[in-house]
């Protein structure tokens, strides 16, 4: 009688141990899954320096931030023009000077992607937007900053294009592909504009 009781207790103990191991394994798997679950985050690459495309990027960024998403915007190549506050020529190579002279000075002189006609198209679009009471690009940029949108300037393309740090707005982060991926891999939405 006693012997059979011991056997039963032993069987219970090993069953409890097996269950405990199972629970531990599941807890670990759950933790792994949680680490891989996307956050409420949106990552946007702004590659283009076209007024219309950049506007789209900022409308999405400010809208997403208003909806409670963490938003990161990575500015690279032509998109760096959006962040410029002016052009400096000193200390640049010939090609970099040519590039600087042919690129917009700031967000105010971005061209449109179609029907630009030496800037007339961009002026027209801006005045049409004003007529419809749509915020200007500069208002959107200020709004994005207010809403806590992170702006990251791509270090490599800035260097290649010869844009100096002093030509860009203050308060920007700078980074490379990994800083974008660190955010985009955790984001539900990643856009390339």
């Amino acid at each position: 009688m006693g012997a059979s009781f011991d056997t039963k207790a032993g069987a219970d103990a090993s069953r409890v141990q097996a269950l405990e191991e199972k629970v531990q394994e599941l807890a670990k798997r759950l933790q792994d899954l949680e680490e891989r679950t996307p956050e409420d985050r949106v990552a946007i690459i702004v590659f283009s320096g076209d007024l219309d495309r950049v506007l789209a990027a900022f409308i999405i960024a400010t809208g997403a931030a208003a909806m409670g998403q963490q938003v990161s915007m990575f500015f690279t190549f032509w998109g760096l023009s959006v962040l410029k506050k002016g052009t400096e020529l000193s200390g640049k190579t010939l090609f970099q000077k040519m590039m600087a002279l042919m690129s917009p000075d700031s967000s105010l002189s971005l061209p449109v992607s179609k029907m630009n006609y030496f800037g007339a198209g961009a002026k027209m679009l801006r005045s049409m937007m004003k007529e419809k009471n749509v915020s200007s690009l500069e208002d959107m940029i200020a709004l994005a900053r207010d809403l806590g949108v992170r702006a990251i300037a791509c270090e490599m393309s800035r260097d290649v294009m010869g844009i100096k740090q002093s030509e860009l707005a203050e308060g920007l982060e700078c980074g490379g592909v990994a800083s974008f991926l660190a955010d985009s891999l955790k984001a539900r939405t990643s856009l390339f504009i």
Binding site: D40, I59, T62, G63, A65, A66, M67, G68, Q69, K132, N133, V134, S135, L143, L147
Partner: protein
């Protein structure tokens, strides 16, 4: 609709994404359980507020209505802060 509210936001004349952005700012100033009434003329705001309420964790869309004022549509949204 005779919904009571704690604060009124006039977003008439503003376009996407401003009604949403301003509403978000105002909701942030409310206490949980309080209601913000937004009046807008942006037609897209109807779907925008629905989308916002679907995604955001601390807001609930408790009502929407459209009325015609002097031939122009005015869209009213009631948003409650839940957390």
């Amino acid at each position: 609709m005779n919904q009571s509210f704690d604060k009124l936001l006039d977003a008439r004349g503003l376009n996407c994404p401003m009604p949403l952005v301003n509403a978000r700012k105002e909701v942030g100033k409310l206490e949980p359980g309080q209601v913000l009434k937004i009046i807008a003329t942006d037609r897209g705001s109807v779907a925008d507020f629905q989308g916002w309420a679907k995604i955001a964790k601390n807001v609930e869309l408790i009502g929407q209505e459209t009325e015609s004022v002097d031939g122009a549509n005015v869209y009213t949204h009631y948003v409650k802060r839940t957390g």
